[in-house]
């Protein structure tokens, strides 16, 4: 309960901060560029200001509501004996198939690989970078057979290339430092 309240306050503070920044921009940059004068037609700032104001109002309400909420009020009610009622209350949504949850560090590691892929994709192009990236991700996700990793990486890169490049005629990233053979 207290943890939830703490997160609500953090979220609301973030929302208020963002809304204040939007209002600040409309009062500075917009004014300098003369985008705030005139009536509803010429005033580019009024609508974002209005929405930012609503965000501040809702954020304050969120903080207040998290203080007046009854302790334990957020817990789901006990499931009834009737199976129909139980399932109406708690539809089973994407249950995990196993209980081997991964650590946050692991997730951050995956995120870093994805960011690195985007950087290298821009530098060296789709065809060169993607098979290595796919192989790395497959390995990170606990596939340990090298034949499977190689086949899956090459085939997925190729299928995606054919689908987008040949069928939809989209030019996939060629890379800024395109290699000689590409």
């Amino acid at each position: 309960m207290f943890k939830e309240r703490r997160w609500n306050i953090i979220s609301a503070s973030f929302c208020v901060g963002l809304a204040c920044y939007i209002i600040y921009l409309t009062l500075t940059a917009f004014v300098e560029d003369r985008a705030t004068g005139g009536g509803p037609f010429a005033n580019s700032a009024f609508y974002p200001q209005l929405v930012a104001g609503i965000i501040i109002f809702l954020s304050v309400l969120l903080v207040i509501s998290s203080f007046i909420q009854k302790p334990g009020g957020e817990k789901p009610p006990e499931a009834g004996k009737d199976e129909t009622l139980r399932d109406i209350d708690q539809p089973e949504e994407g249950q995990p198939l196993g209980n081997d949850r991964v650590s946050r560090k692991f997730l951050i590691g995956i995120a870093f690989i994805l960011i690195a892929y985007t950087v290298f994709l821009d530098m060296f192009g789709y065809v060169v970078v993607t098979p290595f990236f796919m192989a790395l991700i497959f390995w990170m996700l606990k596939i340990r057979k090298w034949i499977a990793i190689t086949l899956l990486s090459v085939i997925s890169t190729f299928v995606m290339y054919v689908f987008f490049s040949s069928l939809l005629e989209v030019i996939l990233p060629p890379g800024r430092y395109s290699l000689i053979w590409w």
Partner: protein, 507 residues
């Protein structure tokens, strides 16, 4: 309506459009079968493809994914007791017990046939009702239209299961994101910070893929179970399931009517319709005590309702540009991507395309029947795919698909940013659906709002003086009060309603 359909025949009856719709259904079933993916993610992943093909073909593809995905979840619900999509949750109540009795082929067959027939009945409602609704909406001015779009935004807060306040906050951020880029009235670049890439605003595909696909993949990785392979044998459903569904004609019609009606109400969606239809089928059955033990009527009711819901959800989406759920919001976004503004004007300016969309929806349900029954062994085998093979491929499709829209690496970076935002929002209980719907409705809400103020010379009184706008806005206030009721109280009201229906069945 006749003109719309005959125009639709011209735009839809082509090999490309028909094949794309069929391909969409096929991919939709596969996507629906896989737990945790679902039709929303499927439609999002294919949105980037739409701009590269003909409007009706592209939308046919997305509608196919929507229809197929809405049914595919039933297969994993029946065989694994894990609904591939939340809307299939009611199907497992009788589907799984039926499978445990060794009647998996019958259960899956019933789900496919009932979905297809329910979808066709929902499609009939779409064809008949939406042109009438669009005709009425054509008489609306900017104030009425503003009030109507606000209704769409507030209504989506109803589906914010976590918290109405968080849902509304999420919607406001969607409106702010929609305002990024060139002001449609003055041409001034708002919140672009001098980046040329942001002048056109945040690209819808980057936003959608980031918020839904990337955050979902991270949550799937976090949940674990990466290397588990369910042990299921492939089978083919018997054709007799068609006769079983036809024998339950009343149940089918009732469930389809409920699904269509609930689907047409913004913010309610397939989960509610399938459970209400299930409860109604149980209430009107001669053997209600057998429900939950593997009754075909239960599967028919829930599946017919959740696919009829698709047709229902498309009615306000196409006719009024008010999406009933996040999937129809993405469909509207896709229409905007190809340069078509949904709403009554679409019916007036492009009746042939609207007709094409109607026919694509009807054809998708026919494809669902044919492909669903024909390729069941393949769809069942799909369940054996391990998450650690699937997740990297979805991530790759997300990256390439996002890049493909504008050939822009900036969009891929935006996608990562919104992936992080989506992940944090989901973890902290902020629903994503209102943000997406607001992002889609934003380019309609702001012009309607500012045009109204231009008409009134800057006075807000125009929203009170125009009777239709005033009534709609009052309705919004009531809706807000209703959604402010704590979820546990709302839940007890729902439970009381179902108990009432159940009691009626025993009396």
């Amino acid at each position: 309506m006749h003109g719309i359909l005959s125009g639709g025949l011209e735009t839809f009856l082509g090999l490309q459009q028909i094949l794309l719709t069929g391909f969409g259904v096929f991919m939709g079933i596969i996507i629906g079968v896989l737990p945790g993916i679902g039709p929303l993610l499927g439609v999002i992943l294919f949105t980037s493809v739409v701009i590269h093909i003909s409007p009706v073909g592209g939308m046919g593809l997305l509608i196919g994914v929507y229809v197929g995905g809405s049914c595919g979840g039933a297969i994993s619900a029946i065989l694994l007791r894990i609904p591939g999509t939340p809307i299939a949750a009611a199907t497992l109540l009788d589907g799984y017990p039926m499978a445990k009795k060794g009647k998996s082929p019958e259960a899956v067959g019933l789900a496919i046939v009932a979905s297809s027939m329910g979808g066709l009945l929902g499609g009939a409602a779409l064809v008949f009702v939406s042109p009438l609704l669009a005709e009425i909406a054509l008489k609306f001015g900017p104030p009425e239209y503003f009030a109507l779009t606000v209704t769409g935004l507030i209504a989506i807060a109803v589906v914010a299961r976590e918290s109405t306040l968080k849902g509304l906050l999420s919607a406001c951020f969607g409106l702010i994101i929609a305002s990024i880029g060139t002001d449609p009235f003055t041409g001034y670049d708002r919140f672009t910070f001098g980046y040329g890439n942001m002048m056109g605003g945040i690209r819808l595909v980057a936003l959608l893929v980031g918020l839904f696909a990337i955050s979902e993949m991270f949550i799937q990785i976090e949940q674990g179970g990466l290397n588990i392979k369910p042990n299921i044998k492939a089978f083919r459903p018997p054709f007799s399931t068609v006769l079983t569904v036809l024998r339950n004609f009343v149940n089918l019609i009732r469930a389809s009517a409920i699904g269509t009606f609930i689907g047409a109400l913004p913010g309610t969606g397939g989960v509610a319709s399938s459970f209400i239809s299930y409860a109604m089928a149980k209430a009107s059955s001669k053997e209600p005590e057998k429900f939950g033990t593997g009754m075909p009527e239960g599967i028919i009711a829930s599946e017919a309702a959740n696919n009829a819901c698709c047709g229902g959800a498309l009615i306000p989406s196409l006719a009024l540009a008010i999406p009933g759920d996040p999937i129809t919001a993405v469909l509207l976004g896709a229409l905007m991507l190809i340069g078509l503004l949904p709403g009554p004007e679409l019916f007036r300016q492009y009746p042939d395309i609207v007709g094409g969309l109607f026919l694509a929806y009807l054809a998708a349900n026919i494809f669902l029947f044919v492909l669903g029954l024909l390729f069941t062994p393949l769809f069942v085998s799909i369940l054996k795919i391990r998450k650690n093979r699937l997740i990297p491929m979805i991530i790759l499709l997300s990256i390439v698909g996002t890049f493909a829209v504008q050939a822009s690496i900036f969009d891929v970076w935006s996608m990562w940013f919104f992936g992080l935002v989506g992940y944090v929002m989901r973890k902290r209980g902020f629903p994503l659906a209102p943000l997406v719907i607001a992002r889609v409705l934003g380019p309609i809400v702001e012009p309607a709002f500012r045009r109204s103020l231009i008409l009134s010379g800057g006075s807000f009184s125009i929203f009170v003086e125009r009777p239709i706008a005033f009534v709609i806005l009052i309705f919004n206030v009531i809706l807000l009060i209703w959604t402010s009721v704590p979820p546990d109280k709302m839940r007890s009201a729902r439970v009381a309603l179902v108990r009432l229906i159940s009691k009626r069945s025993y009396s």
